[in-house]
């Protein structure tokens, strides 16, 4: 009897999200769903991943491929087909650019540099987007410029199921300081490529905000090349949409550069939010930090994070870290989290990875309620605190506020 009671106590009191403090491969490998590996050929290195401008090089995914195995490919047929943007009766997506005069440098045809110098499509969605955009928006922040307001590209979908392709090229001139917000609202079947060149000594933050309506689908490849001593920050915020899958990739063109890939997502019932990041340490003495945090609630809420870091042989002095944390709020959710770290040299400052998926469970709730805090306040307190680590990185007050409100709305939806 004594033994039994002891067990009971341990269950009641034990910190039930011990995973939050754990790090390292043991935990990660335990969380990888090995059964999904059947029939998949895993490549020896991320560097071997196919990239091409030729649509024919990418077969339609079946869902069994390594890079598609978590994605609901059946729901993506429209986005994966080699189809132009729908223009009738109006374009499937409307684009609005808010930027100081002279920053918009017209458009770039396929093959017109700098388009295609940084982003080579790495999957079927990116290649069909690339092939079907004749005119890519070209936005240039002049050298030394420090625009007072963030630049904005507003992408508004005209309706669910309507096919849209986009390609944006953003160049941050040497020693410039700027923030670019790409905001997605409305609904569409949207393929969006984003190509970013960060000049020497420049500081650029790109924030991709997915505030889509419930029936939108969005696939995207965001590639950046970061120059010597430059600092690049990419923040993906995905709250809306039925399927969102974003790849945020970065590599370097000079030493002393820093890249930070951040993400925040909140998946509701039936929503699939997938984020993949790839840091290619191809140059010595660069720094990278990856942090994605997500909350899940409701039946079949599904989130995926796959974080690849490759430290190439020549990338001596690299300092890199990647982490993913998920907070599961209700039963019936699924969070996949896969950090992959490849290191080809031992002469580095640091390389770490961590992944944890914790549950906001009855014990947390009991603890907070036992201090007089009502249930819904307790829930909000925990989620807001958890996601705030990313939101406060945005540093655009108006956007931070809007996103905080959007998260609150997501939470309010749990309570019914």
């Amino acid at each position: 009897m004594t033994a039994e009671i002891t067990t009971e106590k341990a269950r009641i009191g034990a910190p039930s999200i011990a995973g939050f403090t754990e790090e390292g491969e043991g935990l990660v490998s335990a969380k990888v769903d090995h059964s999904h590996n059947h029939g998949v050929t895993v490549m020896a290195s991320r560097a071997e991943r196919l990239t091409s401008f030729n649509v024919a090089d990418f077969a339609l995914p079946t869902g069994r491929e390594e890079e598609w195995r978590f994605s609901p490919v059946r729901g993506l047929a429209n986005l994966l087909s080699d189809t132009a943007t729908e223009l009738d009766p109006e374009p499937a997506t409307a684009f609005t650019v808010e930027a100081p005069e002279g920053y918009v440098r017209g458009t770039l045809a396929p093959g017109a540099a700098p388009r295609g110098t940084v982003l080579t499509p790495a999957d079927r969605a990116a290649v069909v987007a690339s092939a079907n955009v004749d005119e890519a928006l070209h936005l240039v922040i002049p050298a030394e410029a420090e625009p007072a307001e963030p630049l904005r590209i507003l992408v508004h979908g005209a309706g669910a199921g309507r096919r849209s392709n986009a390609h944006f090229v953003i160049e941050a001139g040497a020693n410039s300081r700027s923030v670019v917000i790409v905001e997605h609202t409305g609904a569409a079947d949207h393929n969006g490529n984003l190509e970013v060149i960060v000049g020497e000594g420049a500081k650029l933050t790109v924030i991709s905000v997915q505030l889509w309506e419930d029936d939108a689908k969005h696939l995207g490849q965001h590639d950046a090349e970061v120059g010597k001593d430059a600092v690049y920050k990419h923040i993906a915020v995905s709250l809306g949409g039925s399927i969102v899958r974003l790849n945020s990739n970065v590599r370097f063109s000079g030493e002393g550069a820093e890249a930070e890939l951040l993400g925040l997502y909140f998946a509701d019932a039936g929503q699939h939010l997938e984020h993949r990041s790839f840091v290619d340490h191809n140059v010595a003495n660069c720094k990278s930090n990856v942090l994605y945090k997500g909350a899940l609630q409701g039946k079949n809420a599904h989130t995926v994070w796959v974080g690849d870091v490759l430290i190439q042989k020549q990338a001596l002095g690299t300092d890199s870290y990647e982490k993913n944390q998920n907070l599961v709020l209700t039963d019936g959710c699924r969070a996949d989290s896969v950090p992959n770290l490849e290191i080809e040299t031992g002469l580095i400052e640091g390389a770490g990875h961590a992944s944890s998926t914790g549950r906001f469970d009855d014990e947390h709730l009991f603890y907070l309620m036992a201090r007089g805090i009502p249930e819904e306040v307790a829930r909000r307190l925990v989620v807001r605190g958890f996601l705030n680590e990313i939101i406060q990185q945005i540093k655009v007050a108006a956007l931070e506020e809007r996103l905080t409100e959007a998260v609150e709305r997501e939470l309010a939806a749990t309570e019914n």
Partner: protein, 265 residues
């Protein structure tokens, strides 16, 4: 003056082997200003009593009553109980991700008092209370209990006790896992809260050593879900010498019955 009254309380839990009765008729009355020690061997149901008072959903009350100044505590939700003035210092405080201590303490204080505390005095109060309990100032910015050692978690429980000023505090094995220094610091905190004169205390413990620092007026011995003996502080001294062996089931059954009868007399 407030009264917490527990009458003939029966509590069960669901286990894989079926329903199991843990508390088998517990009666106990605590008034403001009193300190009651509940002592007993592991598995006797002491912590179940504590968790039941706080309203943990795992414990099903199958009989009896708990009232606070005549109000039915069992009809209240967990947060209502806390706002009514009950505080449970937990044996295993839970780590809450994403919520800083500062934010948590202010939110709880606001909920308990029904209004936000005046920011200036509140910040000062928190700082002073933390200092007295030798809690590092940087804990304020850390997440609730996250990465705290066992001793730190217990001190943070007492910090809350001092800040929230409950009518009744239930301390569930607050002494377990504490070294002598920490035990002293924690006990001083309880004594400070008690000295304000508006609190009754139920001190649940397995060992007598905390009773060197916190002096109960009443000692209740808990065995197998029941109070088997009651007395003053001298009973604790006797337990220190003799342990709980004489309450062991089987041979001691007659003693228990006699002790229970004596206690009720």
């Amino acid at each position: 003056m407030s009264t917490l009254e527990i009458k003939d309380l029966h509590v069960s839990i669901d286990t894989e082997q079926g329903t199991k009765e843990i508390l088998k008729g517990v009666s106990l009355t605590i008034r403001t200003g009193e300190t009651h020690a509940i002592m007993g061997p592991n598995g006797s149901g002491k912590s179940t009593l504590a968790s039941t008072i706080a309203g943990h959903p795992r414990y099903k009350v199958t009989g009896g009553t708990i009232t606070l100044d005549g109000e039915d505590v069992l009809a209240m939700s967990v947060d209502e109980r806390a706002r009514a003035g009950l505080f449970l210092a937990m044996q295993y405080p839970v780590e809450v991700p994403g919520v800083t201590m500062t934010n948590f303490l202010r939110t709880a204080k606001t909920a308990i008092d029904g209004q936000a505390p005046a920011l200036r005095t509140w910040t000062k109060d928190v700082k002073a209370a933390m200092q007295q309990l030798r809690i590092d100032a940087d804990f304020a910015q850390r997440n609730v209990n996250e990465g705290f050692s066992g001793g730190e978690k217990k001190r943070v429980e007492i910090l809350q006790l001092e800040l929230f000023k409950p009518k009744f505090a239930v301390l569930d094995e607050t002494d377990s896992g504490l070294d002598v220094d920490a035990l002293k610091i924690v006990s001083e905190g309880v004594n400070r809260a008690h000295a304000e004169g508006n609190m009754g205390t139920m001190l649940i413990t397995h060992y007598t050593r905390i009773l060197r620092y916190i002096k109960p007026e009443f000692v209740h011995v808990f065995v197998d879900g029941q109070i088997v003996e009651e007395g003053g502080p001298e009973l604790a001294d006797r337990l220190e010498e003799e342990g709980y062996d004489r309450y062991a089931t089987g041979a001691g059954a007659a003693t228990i019955a006699a002790a229970a009868a004596a206690a009720q007399a």
